[in-house]
Subunit: 190 residues, 2 copies
Amino acid sequence: MINDLLLTHINKNVKFSTRAQEEFCSFFQPKTIPKKEFLLQQGQVCKFEGFVIEGCFRIFSMDTKGNENTLYFAAKDWWLMDIDSFMNHKPSDLNIQALEDSKILMISEEDKTTLYDTVPIAEKFFRIMFQKSIVAWQRRLVQNHSLTAKERYHHFKKNYPEIVAKLTDRQTANYLGITHEFLSKIKKQA
Amino acid sequence: MINDLLLTHINKNVKFSTRAQEEFCSFFQPKTIPKKEFLLQQGQVCKFEGFVIEGCFRIFSMDTKGNENTLYFAAKDWWLMDIDSFMNHKPSDLNIQALEDSKILMISEEDKTTLYDTVPIAEKFFRIMFQKSIVAWQRRLVQNHSLTAKERYHHFKKNYPEIVAKLTDRQTANYLGITHEFLSKIKKQA
DNA sequence: AGATAGTGTTGAACTTGTTCAACATTTTTC
DNA sequence: GAAAAATGTTGAACAAGTTCAACACTATCT
């Protein structure tokens, strides 16, 4: 069933009653996104939250100098959205693009509000998700300061081999905050 | 009253009933921390969450190379904790040190659990706090990649002048991810 | 299948930021 | 109030990572 992955995911984090599980899932609708298509583009207001079932996405922004900046990649089992835009109803700074044919479960902004009101445990669930997310962001920041580009590359490759495998070197380099030329030189060294 | 700042803070984010406000605040106890003292040291399990009433703290980790790495500073109106350690009951990688004589409101781990169970709106409140926090971490990461050290310094000084004013240049430089010597050179340029 | 656009590699010159050491100044401590 | 410790500054040599340009290779599109 389409909701299996989502059910496994939520139960891994918070104990949902069977009733709550059903209600929770009923708010989500499947959507397929072909390779290269944008789920969200800079300037649009993000009116959804997505949970990746299969495929892979790149979440990135463009700075004033015209450089892309990859925030993260979302593969199976990851959440997908621009929190700032979603929460504050403001135009997004982010682009969300499918790197391959992908499938997600989506919830609209209105339904998310209803979900919080009708399934109270959802509030706890997402609180815990966000806490985990903060831990990950903090780690990434420390690593960016304390590791060299080479160390960061090997760390990423070791911890997310399935994701690295889906990426071009240019995408990997951008995520690591280095040029693709330099990544090429790093790979040669190793 | 001691809880005024906390009340203003929570009401800015979520509508609490008068009853919920009282209950919420009743879980917190004031604590003063003299300058230079550690509220948490690497290796300890973080069993509290703190809300800064006055003063300022530095949250940092030490990497394997022996370098300090400042995650953030927490002044009045900021929350204080090691989420990872608090959530997973594991030894912390972080140090939390008072930069000046400070006062916080504290809640213990057990009380936090009780708070979530007895004051349901607390769950929503902290979910929103965590969302905002993620937005801030994402922004910081993008800035670290897209701005030069000079730009980062001026950005930080412009956005958090009260905090910068409390810091030594070494602390500011460490937060920005550069050496204090280089910060000195940046300041000379400007 | 051929044209086209995107990807990975390499080298040389360059820029940003680091390291180390020395010194002057300020702050803390007894 | 003197001694000690921490802070900020400057310079010279260095290292990490960038930029630009050229080339070979691989996908993609019709």
